[in-house]
């Protein structure tokens, strides 16, 4: 008869990644059915309740409290698990106790300790992110808001206040930026060069900046504007500021703008502002075909096309992985993506090839997942339904492991399509995770195709990651777009 044991630590905060790691260790202990360490926010309480992990102790926790929750086969196993969890918490170097280094408790006091601070990188839980961003703006700092689950009203208020103060708000849900040559949050080590990037998408910025690097070019700045900046409610405030900023930037010669297709009025305003800029532009509204562009801009409907256009080349040179098309198969293609824009790019290519495909984050012309009978599926595992209460799959690849394992076992699946995103902020060995799952499946099974978004300058090393994938029998394409095209070719369609 399993039993639930909870412990609550009042006012004890630890970031979600650290908590996830401890949770996984505890969940793996003998006799433990499930375990979670989470902050007591209402949404987390809901998740833990649904997972049958809470008793009255845990249910009484408040938002600033840490809940240790365990469901175990018996009392002894449960207590041992809680003890282990406590031990792992204790063993973390405590914030205020390490030697003589004092860690500021607020942004206000941190700014006192770093005169000249000009950018706040905010990745606290979404409920608190807007308040922190407001503090940053009041202190005269630009704000990069990595957090998502910030209300659109807060986003608008923040961006209006920032604009009036001449400050940039990158985000919310801004996973990637490169400022002054420094990769921020989830970004890659790319050479400095004269191509600027403005992106509403993190992985979109990553893929394009890496392809530019692969083609021998470099990036001046990559400004993330957040996933909703180009919605009608926000009106492209940060995008417009970024266009203006890069217009005056001597280090930038050409700019790539990446986004999902914006609302018509916002698109018009953005394109008009681009037209007024002295720089040349590549405009990549993913999947959009017909655009009314100013004279200094060219269109590209995929990330790869945008990179090639920016570099004014026809093909990616110097790629070491020429991939032969494996024998065609019957069956479905299942794409499991960590990067939302990489999933979108794959959809563009599948749509152009006339394949019947559905997605949980569909672009125009692609069916939504719910109720779809389409054979092929392209899933964005970074979407809310997969990330509520859990780290993003790019931070914690284990989140994709289970789905991948299940898909590899499915006899109706002919091809599995994956993105592997490396760089700063990513796991130390994303390819290793994927390779282990794939190698462990035994003989037969689907063709597995992947691409590695990254550079050789990244800590994981792009070449090393590619080798791990290939050693597991995975076909590695030169880019995400190439991987999608290869998958299409394997099904025998699109030829």
């Amino acid at each position: 008869m399993s039993m639930i044991l909870n412990q609550v630590r009042r006012g004890y905060f630890l970031d979600s990644v650290a908590l996830m790691r401890i949770s996984r260790t505890v969940a793996g202990l003998d006799g433990v059915e499930e375990a979670a360490l989470m902050m007591g926010s209402p949404s987390n309480l809901g998740i833990m309740c649904d997972a049958d992990l809470l008793d009255e102790v845990g249910r009484a926790a408040a938002g600033g409290d840490l809940i240790l929750a365990v469901r175990a086969a018996d009392q002894a196993a449960g207590e041992a698990a809680l003890a282990k969890a406590s031990d792992l918490l204790e063993r973390r170097p405590s914030a205020a106790g390490t030697g003589n280094t004092w860690r500021s408790k607020t942004l206000r006091s941190a700014v006192k300790h770093l005169p000249g601070a000009n950018l706040a990188l905010i990745s606290v839980p979404g409920d608190f992110a807007a308040a922190e961003a407001r503090k940053a703006l009041r202190a005269g700092l630009h704000a990069m808001i990595f957090s998502d689950n910030v209300s659109i009203k807060d986003e608008l208020d923040l961006k209006q206040e920032a604009r009036a103060a001449g400050l940039l708000v990158m985000g919310p849900d801004c996973g990637t930026a490169i400022i002054g040559g420094v990769p921020l949050a989830f970004a890659n080590v790319v050479p400095r060069g004269d191509i600027g990037i403005i992106g509403a998408s993190g992985t979109g910025i990553q893929e394009i900046s890496c392809l530019i690097a692969q083609a021998g070019g470099g990036v001046s700045h990559a400004i993330g504007v957040g996933g909703r900046d180009l919605k009608a409610e926000i009106g492209g405030i940060t995008t417009l500021m970024a266009i203006d900023a890069l217009a005056c930037d001597p280090a930038t010669r050409h700019v790539v703008l990446i986004s999902k297709p914006p609302a018509a009025e916002v698109a018009r305003r953005v394109l008009e502002r681009i037209g007024a800029s002295p720089k040349s532009y590549t405009v990549c509204f993913i999947g959009a075909e017909e655009l009314d562009l100013p004279a200094n801009a060219r269109a590209a409907s995929t990330l790869k096309a945008a990179a090639l256009d920016a570099m004014q080349i026809n093909a990616l040179l110097g790629t070491v992985h020429t991939v032969t098309v494996p024998d065609a198969r019957a069956g479905s293609i299942q794409g499991l993506f960590c990067g939302g824009t990489l999933a979108a790019e794959a959809q563009v290519i599948f749509r152009a090839a006339g394949l019947a495909v559905a997605s949980n984050a569909p672009i125009p012309g692609i069916e939504p997942l719910a109720g779809s009978t389409a054979l092929h599926r392209l899933i964005d595992l970074g979407e809310d339904e997969y990330t509520a209460g859990r780290p993003h799959p790019m931070i914690e690849p284990a989140v994709r492991d289970d789905v991948l394992a299940e898909t590899l076992r499915d006899p109706d699946v002919a091809v599995v399509l994956l993105d592997v995103v490396i760089g700063l902020g990513a796991d130390e060995d994303p390819a290793g995770h994927v390779a282990r799952e794939v190698a462990g499946r035994g003989a037969g099974g689907p063709i597995v195709i992947a691409s590695v978004t990254g550079t050789d300058g990244d800590p994981q090393g792009r070449l090393a990651q590619i080798e791990k994938l290939r050693a597991a029998g995975i076909h590695v394409a030169a880019s995400n777009a190439d991987a999608a095209e290869l998958a299409v070719a394997c099904i025998g369609a699109g030829a």
Binding site: R10, G11, D15, S16, V17, M39, G40, S41, A62, G63, G64, D65, A95, A96, R103, S104, K105, T106, L107, A110, V111, H113, L114, G116, A117, N118, L119, A120, L121, I122, S123, V124, P125, F128, A131, E132, R134, K135, A136, R138, H142, F146, S147, A165, G166, L168, I179, G180, V182, P183, L184, H221, M241, D244, A245, A247, C248, D249, S277, G425
Partner: protein, 66 residues
């Protein structure tokens, strides 16, 4: 209403673009660790939810603080 292209945005953004940024990191420690490893100046905030997570007090705080 068309805001001018060269606006007062210039100073603060100019300052942001012209040199490696100096950061205050509020949240995931791994971001600060990676920045430090790159030689970027960053201060980590030992953040915890305002008012220890009490939503009502946090709301009053926000009205009295900004």
């Amino acid at each position: 209403m068309m805001p001018p292209m060269m606006s007062m945005a210039d100073d603060a953004i100019d300052n942001l673009f012209s040199a490696p940024p100096k950061l205050v990191n509020v949240g995931l420690e791994s971001f600060a660790e990676e920045l430090t490893a790159q030689g970027v100046e960053v201060v980590q905030v030992d953040w915890s939810p305002p008012a220890r997570g009490d939503a009502r007090l946090a709301d009053l705080l926000s009205k009295l603080s900004w």
